[in-house]
Each structure stands twice: as structure tokens, then as C-alpha cells.
Symmetry: C2
Subunit: 457 residues, 2 copies
């Protein structure tokens, strides 16, 4: 009956919870712009103060950038560490907002009520689902069902420069049994999802120099090697006709999807035609014989993120360019070794450079994929709890992108992380008119109440 | 004896001829910048006035842009039409000039005296070699050895927008037996050259659209086609491993070099290692089995003049770009048909576009190659005359670039053109510190005296 009472408390407290979120949303804590440094500080203060009202030992902790907030509850049972971020993206272009980004409001839409404003979905609204779940537990039961710590950063939208140093310096304090992260979304509109796979990322930049200066393509065209020709051949050679990456050993460490996960993903009813149709495409471009979800969640890729060389303005210039360059990234899965792949990639590129041309490489980071150990009992408990709350059963899903914090929890603190969130694809995070469905907020709080209940067994 | 006297007159008049050229060089007739429109007009006036002092019927002729200068002599014998341009390139970046660009001077250098300033080599110095040759002929002989017309434009450095309309409107007046053009160079330092081949040029721009907007490469990487991948494959497919262009029928109309020309080019002692070494390269990049001179003068090419797509700034952005584009040009030779090649190129590109991507084409012009009919007796006469003046025998050479005026004389006025000029590779035309060797100016005048003498037979 504890659970039912706590859920009822969430329902009755929703207007007050919404008003608390609005207070936090009104603080323009844009981390990338030094003009808002004071606001970032205010947001950290607001969170620490709010957590203290609930009995947490909460403090703002200085870094060389924006402060962290760390809070601990008393209590027994499993120790979970919840992570979120209180900073938000810049609001430009401001003129595309229909309402002022830092004057949040509840709006009626054909699809239901939404909270509109910067940070509603990314990540203030999401992090407050967990805070409100804790508040309801304490309100109803006088205590939390587990030992709970919270850890909020204010630099997630600006590359988290202080995060790893802070985690290393405070490893003992931050270590718990399990990390919870609320910065992801639902699958579709009503399937709750636990992200158990995150692809890694290897970023490379190559710049090929042919002639030492831009040449006239009439005088030199034919005899002088054109670096764009070299670069195009390199890029064209990275995929074979079946869509596979050709680098030797590239697929080392890539494992086939376990049958149970494969079955579950099939059950999600992912429609690649619909998914691609929303961005003007229709044909899955990945490896032959792979499903659409495999292509984005469990298979590695190679993408060109940018390419440039020669004259790019209007009209035409008969230049034979001196240089051509490309930014190329690989999304990695399983046990693929980013450092080994970097080495193989560079060796391949070098093998393609004519003897009178040269290449330089730029390193844009390397992080391996994360796969959560879903045999940790918390995963099945959380999945059941989410399935109880939502119209559809919860799913273990992948994420094609990279969420570095999950990797840091594993590498620095040796903790598994459960990534659970309630945002929707159309929340326009990082864009004008960001929103968070009121139902995401409400059912998100109820979801955490259920998950915390399930973890105490 | 007439020839010897006239050459002696050139020698004694060189200081005065240099001073006249200086006057013209001091007029900043930059055609691309409207701020210098009055100066372009002044340069045209200066030329018309100078030619009138020599007895030419010379006039400045308005166009919708900068004026033309047209001048006619009396006289009998073959009728030749001399073309040059009085406009010059802009001088930016001004700070890289060691002397003010429009305060020309004679400078002593280790390699001899040079005329320094904008327009010395391109093209005021060169056009005045012909004017001074005529002056010497008239001074010594009271008349010219042929019927001579001159035609100067003031828009060569800004795309010659008025040239073709003016030539069409005044075709009858401008028609002569042969055109002479002085806007090319020596081969090496002391081999006089007559350009008898100009490559044509076909310019294309392709823009490939994949997704309808830039995507996150984590969310979409693997399932969404990347247009840079498509573009790279297209460009990589344009050359085979032997350096040949792969478009079907591309080599239709490309003829093998006649034996006599091949022998002559061999005799030029072109050193591709030295030629490429000056621009930091060393390996001829054209078709296997072709000499360096063939690659730039008598073989067609395909070059990428510019390529762009995705994020090109500093650092990294995990974008999967919506669009990728390239500017691609073909240098054409012999009887290659630019319109047929455009069609074949576009068909090839379209065949490479995945069904859910699209391509648009931009047309950046199409002109066929020109080959002069060297069996016109004037060519051999001019070659002999040049060989008499210079340390080495004159050569028929090619030009990898395009000199549209030669084609216009052929197409609009059905005249062959002899392209003879005296500039050197190191004259820094279009660049700061442009110069023209005083020996180029002096021996250039003497060369034209000899050529005019030879033509009267």
C-alpha cells in the first residue's frame, strides 16, 4: 500500500511540483556563455536548497567551471547515485521562439498539455522527475526506500570539462551500487525505455596536401595531383558495396545481438520507412542484411561529418587546390577498440597518399561503446516497474549516440548505469520552443516512485 | 637593310619606349572595381591618343562596360589584327608589394633589369611591345609593312562581358587575315613560343542532397545515407587506376600528337621534376604513358576545383550533412564535344545517386579546345622571325589554360590567331610585385619588328 499512497501523493502534488520546476526553469543557466555564469551558480544553489528541504545533506561544490551539486540521504538498502545536469543550451535564434525561453508556461496542445521553455526536457524537467519522486516518498513515508545520492553538473552542454576531474577527486564519495541517469527518452510515444547500449565514438580529421599552393587548373591540370581526388578515393574506399566498413579488423569485437534482445527489438515495431521518411529518406544505408535498429544501435558505422577543399563560393574558379580535408567519425559498438581502429584508419589513409603528397591527422577523441550488464537485478526490476506505469511494456533499447557520463561511471567508479528518461522525439531539445509533455513529467515522477519501490526488495 | 635599321631604331628608342609604358602603367585601370572606372577610361584615351600620333585612325569605342580601343592603319599587304587588354588585376593584398603598384620603376635584379608594377607583364607591357614595333617601323620607313589594326579591351580581368557583343556588332570592321595576340609567355627563359593549342573547358557543379536536414550522426549514422559518401564515390569513379577519365566516350575526338609536334616538344627539354618541384610535387599525375607536356597541353583532364559538405569549422561536430557539393571541370582537347561530355557526365552522376537522394547540376560554361592551323604561312614566318631574335629556336607549344579571345576570333570572325608573348613564369601576374623583364620588353619589340617584316613577303 506504500506504493499506492506514494503514487497518489505524486498525483495530488503535481501542480506544486510543476511550480517548483518552473522556478528552476526561470533561471537562465546557459553554461556556454560566461554572461550566465551567475545564473548557473543560482541554479546550483536552488537545487541544493531544495534538496536540503527534503532532508538531504546537499552542497554546492566548486570546480574551475560551473559548480557541481552533490547530495546524500541517510537510509539503508541499496545505494543509488542519480545524475542530471542543471545547465541548458543557448536559446539562439531567439526570434524563432513563440514564448520567451526563460518564462516557462503550461500550454494546451492537440496532443495534451506541455511545459514550454528552455530546459524543460533537457534536462531540468527530467532531473526533477527524480527529485519529485524522492519528495513524494519522504512526504508519505518519512524516509526513502533506499540510500540515495544525487550528483548534478552544470557543464553538460559545454563539454563537461570539470566532470572527470571532479569524479576522480571525489571517487569515494560518488561511488554507489548503481547509477541512474535521466537524460534519454521514451521509444516512440508510450514505450518506456532503458538504454543499455551506447555506441562509442572515434573522431578523426585528415588534411591532404598536394601542391604547396593553389594552382591554376589550366596550367597544372593533368600533371599535378589534386588532393580532392586523393581524398575522395580514400572516402570511397571506406565502404564496400554491401555497406560494410573495409578497414582490416574493423569488426573485431563486434558481436551478434543476443537472441532475446533481437526478439525484443523486433517487438518494438520500428518502421525504418517512417523513421527515414521524417528526414526525407527511405532506404536504410547500412550493412546489407541488417535491420534498421541494428544499423543505429548495434552496428558500427563510418561517417564523413565534413569535407572541404578548393573554391566553395558562388560561381567558378579554375583552381587546383593545395589542400583537401575531411572530418570522419566512427560509431563503435561491443568491444571495438577505438585506438586500434584509429591506427588502422591512419595506416589505410597513409597507404593511399601518393609519394609526392602528404597527410596530417587530427584527433577528435576516442571512446569505446558501453554495454550495460542487464543481468544486474536492478534492470529487470526497473523494467517491470516501468511496464506497470506505462501503456506498453518497457524495452531495453540502444542509443546510436554517445552519453559519456555512463562511460565515466563505469571507468572511474566501476558502476553500472541505468539510463531511463521520458522525453519524446519531438521535444525540440537544443532548438527553439523546447517542450516537455506534462505527461512525461507526471508519469516520469510516478515511474521513479515505482523504480525506487522495486529496488528496495 | 630596312629590318636592320628598324631594329636599331628600337634599340636607340628603348628609354623613350620604357617611359611611354610607364605613363600607361601609372593609370590604375583596375577593371573589376567600379572605383577605377574613370582610370579605365583614361587608359583607353591614352592608347587612342598614342596611336593617333603614329597616324592610326584610332578611337575609343563605348560599351556597356569599359570602352574598347580600335585603331586602323592605312597600308597594303596582309591585314593583321592585334589584340591586347589595357585593364589590370586588383592589387590586393597591397601590403605585400615592395613598391607602390602604380608607381612603376626599373629595378636592377641579379637576373637583369625588370619593370616592376601592376600590369607590366599582364598585359600593358606586352601590348606595348607591338605598339612600339609599329612606331619603329613608321619612324624608320614612314609606313608599316602591312595593313595593321589594333583592338584593345578593358575588361579582360573581369570576364570580358562586352567582348563578344562588340565583336559581333563590329564584325566587318574587326575582320582581318590573321589575329595576333600578345598575352602569353616564353617557354622557359629564352625559347620564344607560339601557342597553337588551347584546351577547352567544361565547368559543372553538382549538389547532392541526402536527408532533408542536417542530422545527428549518432541518432542517424548507419541508417541514413550520407551525401558526402555518395559524392566521394562519384569523384573517385571519374579516374581509373591508369589515370584515365572513365566517362564513356570521353576520349572521342582526342587525337594523338602529330609526329612533328611530338618531336618538337621532346626537343623543348621539359623537365617534369623541375616543373612539379616548384609547386612541391614530383610525380606526374596524368595518364600513364604520357609525357608531362602531353598531360598539360594535349590530353584532356578532369579536376575537382572545390568540394564542400557538412561541418568545416574548427573542432568537431557529429553532423550527418544534408548536402554535399563539388565544382568539377574538364579541360578538353582536339575535337572533344563539351556538350556531349556534359551529358555523359550528368548521366554518370545520376546513375550513382541512391533512389532516396537527389542531385542538382549547375552549368559553369562549355568551350571546345582550339587548335591553330599552323599550315597558314604566317606561322612558319613568325617562327623563323622569333628564332632569329632569341637564343633558342621558336617552338609551337600548347597552353593548358583557355584564352577565350582566340576562340572568339575563330568563331565570330573566322580568323586564325597567333599567340605570341614574352612574359616569364616568374612574372607574378595577378600577384603582388608583378614584373616584366626589360629584356622581354626590348626583345619583344624587336620580335614584332621581325615578324612584321616577315609577313610582308
Amino acid at each position: 500500500m506504500t506504493l499506492e499512497k506514494t503514487l497518489a501523493r505524486v498525483d495530488e502534488d503535481l501542480p506544486a511540483a510543476t511550480e517548483r520546476l518552473m522556478q528552476l526553469l526561470r533561471i537562465p543557466s546557459v553554461s556556454t556563455d560566461p554572461a550566465y555564469a551567475r545564473d548557473c551558480d543560482d541554479a546550483a544553489d536552488w537545487l541544493a536548497a531544495d534538496l536540503r528541504t527534503m532532508g538531504f545533506d546537499a552542497s554546492k561544490r566548486p570546480t574551475s567551471g560551473h559548480p557541481m551539486v552533490v547530495a546524500h540521504s541517510n537510509g539503508s538498502g541499496p545505494h543509488v547515485m542519480f545524475y542530471g545536469h542543471y545547465d541548458v543550451q543557448p536559446v539562439d535564434p531567439l526570434e524563432l521562439w513563440d514564448t520567451p525561453p526563460f518564462e516557462p508556461c503550461v500550454e494546451d496542445t492537440p496532443a495534451g498539455k506541455v511545459l514550454r521553455g528552455r530546459g524543460t526536457a533537457d534536462d531540468k524537467g527530467q532531473l526533477m522527475t527524480f527529485v519529485e519522486a524522492c519528495r513524494a516518498w519522504i512526504d508519505v513515508n518519512g524516509a526513502l526506500p533506499a540510500r540515495i545520492s544525487m550528483f548534478f553538473e552544470g557543464e553538460e552542454e559545454s563539454g563537461s570539462p570539470s566532470l572527470v576531474p571532479f569524479m576522480r577527486e571525489n571517487a569515494q564519495e560518488l561511488k554507489a551500487d548503481l547509477a541512474l541517469i535521466c537524460d534519454t527518452g521514451l521509444f516512440g510515444d508510450d514505450t518506456p525505455a532503458i538504454v543499455t547500449r551506447l555506441r562509442g565514438l572515434l573522431g578523426e580529421e585528415i588534411t591532404i596536401t598536394g601542391p604547396s599552393l593553389d594552382l591554376h587548373s589550366g596550367m597544372f591540370g593533368g600533371i599535378a595531383m589534386n588532393p580532392v581526388r586523393v581524398l575522395s578515393k580514400i572516402i570511397a574506399g571506406l565502404h564496400d558495396s554491401a555497406g560494410r566498413v573495409t578497414l582490416p579488423g574493423f569488426y573485431d569485437g563486434v558481436e551478434e545481438l543476443p537472441d532475446d534482445i533481437a526478439r525484443q527489438w523486433q517487438g518494438l515495431g520500428f518502421d525504418h520507412t517512417e523513421f527515414l521518411g521524417e528526414v526525407g529518406l527511405g532506404i536504410p544505408a547500412g550493412e546489407e542484411g541488417r535491420s534498421g535498429l541494428e544499423m543505429i544501435w548495434s552496428r558500427p558505422t563510418c561517417e564523413v561529418n565534413g569535407i572541404s577543399g578548393g573554391y566553395q563560393g558562388d560561381g567558378f574558379k579554375t583552381v587546383l587546390p593545395s589542400k583537401a580535408s575531411a572530418k570522419i567519425s566512427f560509431r563503435l559498438v561491443g568491444k571495438q577498440d577505438p585506438h586500434a581502429i584509429r591506427k588502422t584508419f591512419r595506416a589505410y589513409v597513409e597507404s593511399q597518399i601518393p609519394a609526392d603528397c602528404s597527410v596530417t591527422f587530427g584527433d577528435h577523441g576516442a571512446s569505446p561503446a558501453s554495454e550495460m550488464q542487464t543481468d544486474h537485478p536492478a534492470f529487470e526490476k526497473a523494467r517491470q516497474a516501468l511496464s506497470d506505469e506505462w501503456p506498453k511494456d518497457a524495452a531495453y533499447v540502444g542509443s546510436g549516440g554517445s552519453i559519456p557520463i555512463a562511460g565515466y561511471f563505469k571507468d572511474i567508479l566501476d558502476m553500472d548505469a541505468m539510463l531511463i528518461g521520458f522525453s519524446k522525439d519531438n521535444d525540440q531539445i537544443h532548438s527553439p520552443n523546447e517542450k516537455y509533455d506534462l505527461s512525461s513529467f507526471h508519469k516520469g515522477i510516478r515511474s521513479w516512485v515505482r523504480i525506487l519501490d522495486s529496488l528496495q526488495d
